[in-house]
């Protein structure tokens, strides 16, 4: 994914992702979904920041919680 894509690249990315997800977006919904996608794209950039090893996410997987209901 490009960090600063032009409109054509965005449209292509949108199309690829939708097809890969198996979404057949109705014609009258495409414009609204695309607007949401562009907003989402802006959002994702903010989360793509340099991080350190301390920012690792495995803390939300606790083997005790996985096994306790079994």
């Amino acid at each position: 994914m490009s960090a600063d894509p032009n409109e054509a690249a965005l449209a292509l990315e949108f199309d690829v992702f939708a097809k890969r997800a198996g979404l057949a977006i109705a014609a009258d919904r495409v414009e609204l979904v695309y607007a949401g996608f562009k907003e989402m794209r802006r959002m994702l950039e903010l989360l793509r920041q340099p991080r350190t090893a301390a920012n690792e996410p495995a803390g939300f997987l606790d083997m005790r919680s996985v096994n306790r209901g079994l």
Binding site: F14, A21, G22
Partner: protein, 461 residues
């Protein structure tokens, strides 16, 4: 005094003293629902017959000196994503319009075990995300303070029902603010407990990592009573926390003098769409807390947008994963808003989701660290009063709620009214506490409620 204006604790006292019966409370609630609900559409399914049977059972128990707890004989209702055995659970969606679960959700079972009276199932945004919508099998709930306005969501029927006095307490769920949002717009209390404190088993998921179950209630004490009933470790909910049950009512009437309260003012001051009325009411709330003896100071946290985006990425990925097959096979059975919001999960990469989880850990640590030197935080809940249905835009990207941060971090957060707009719509703030310290959050809320007495005003319907 009318029953809807009596706190659950007082109703419980009267029930135990034989001054009122559960049957009378239930019949009164059903009468109010018949008169008022057609204006606000809070209920999807009314369970009048089983409610009257529950009430009879509660009265029989009282007569035999059997006391299961504070909700025995008390009418309440559940958001229609809580499974209820033999009673349809629709998620306000065509996709589950005729779904009748075989078993109760843990929360429904806990109320049933207490002998509480379940009046029915309440409107929601479709699958707790899409709404308010007019293209679903059931109409959207309306705001009791002005029925041209939205009640917030997704626990929209819960907020509307409590504000209209149809029940003192209704259960909601909160993944990005779905308890606190309708509480703010409808002028009720709404408690999103600490992540893991209340079992979500049997509640239709929106996002496993962010879903919380909690009450909307007319007063802080009503919410505290509900928490006493529903809290508990559930080994079959992977998110459930094996911790001692907090003391919800023990310090409810203690002074807040000397408590240190932090204000991440940068979250909302200057935010696009911030209403000056919300800001003025918030500043007045700060003054009230100071007059009560609390020490209130502005603090810094990471930027609000980081919290919001982090939560939305996790929520949308998980929501899309849950509904992916239906989006492929029957996409037009979803309402438009649900479709527009949930399909965004299809456009997020695995790397983005991983970054969101890493960010989540950072943010949770940042808030926990701040709360080491403050007893609680306060900040705005909604940036503006409830919008009119006519002003809702399907593709709006600016969410006027500032609730997501504490779904991301897992800390308990209580929505509480701070006043009314010039047009008579409720305004509010949220009180955020340390993990599993609901007692302090409720204590601050109760002190503020007692000082402002905003709960003494009801909408006229």
């Amino acid at each position: 005094m009318a029953y809807e204006n009596l706190p659950i604790a007082e109703l419980g006292r009267q029930l135990r003293a034989g001054e009122v019966t559960s049957k009378a409370l239930t019949e009164d609630a059903l009468t109010r629902i018949a008169a008022i609900d057609p204006k606000i559409n809070a209920f999807i399914t009314l369970t009048a017959d089983s409610a009257l049977a529950d009430a009879a059972a509660a009265d029989a128990a009282f007569a035999q000196g059997i006391d299961h707890g504070p909700m025995q004989g008390i009418p309440h209702a559940l958001k229609d994503i809580y499974d209820t055995a033999g009673i349809r659970t629709t998620c306000h969606s065509k996709l589950r319009e005729h779904n009748v679960p075989a078993t109760d959700s843990v929360v429904a079972a806990k109320f049933k075990a207490q002998g509480a009276v379940m009046l029915g199932k309440l409107s929601t945004h479709e699958f707790a995300l899409g709404g308010p919508s007019f293209d679903l099998p059931f109409p959207p709930a309306r705001n009791p303070w002005n029925t041209d306005h939205i009640p917030g969501g997704s626990s929209s029927g819960s907020g509307a029902a409590v504000a209209a006095g149809l029940v003192r307490m209704a259960m909601g769920s909160d993944t990005g603010g779905s308890i606190r949002g309708p509480a703010a717009y409808c002028g009720t209390i709404g408690l999103k407990p600490t992540y893991g404190l209340v079992s979500r088993r049997g509640i239709f998921p929106l996002s496993f990592a962010l879903d919380h179950a909690g009450p909307l209630a007319w007063t802080v004490e009503d919410a505290a009573i509900a928490m006493e009933v529903i809290t508990g470790y559930d080994p079959r909910d992977p998110g459930s926390a094996d911790v001692p049950t907090p003391d919800f009512r023990g310090k409810l009437h203690d002074s807040v003098k000397g408590l240190r309260i932090g204000v991440p003012r940068h979250f909302f001051a200057g935010a696009p769409g911030l209403s000056l009325e919300v800001l003025a009411a918030f500043d007045a709330a700060v003054d009230t807390l100071k007059q009560l003896g609390a020490i209130v100071e502005d603090i810094e946290l990471p930027d609000y947008d980081i919290f919001s985006f982090c939560g939305r990425v996790i929520m949308l990925c998980e929501a899309f994963a849950i509904h992916e097959q239906d989006f492929r096979s029957r996409p037009l059975d979803f309402g438009l808003l649900t479709y527009l919001r949930m399909t965004m999960g299809a456009f997020i990469t695995a790397a983005d989701l991983t970054q969101a989880h890493r960010t989540r850990r950072q943010l949770s640590e940042a808030v926990t660290t701040r709360l080491a030197s403050y007893d609680a935080l306060i900040c705005a809940t909604a940036l503006a009063p409830a919008a009119a249905f006519a002003d809702m835009q399907p593709a709006a990207s600016n969410w006027p709620m500032q609730t997501m941060p504490f779904n991301v971090t897992g800390h308990p957060a209580l929505a509480i009214p701070t006043g009314f707009s010039a047009t008579g719509l409720p305004l509010g703030m949220q009180i955020v506490g340390r993990a599993f310290d609901e007692g302090t959050v409720l204590r601050i809320g109760a002190a503020f409620e007692a000082a402002t007495k905003l709960h003494e005003k009801r909408p006229i319907l």
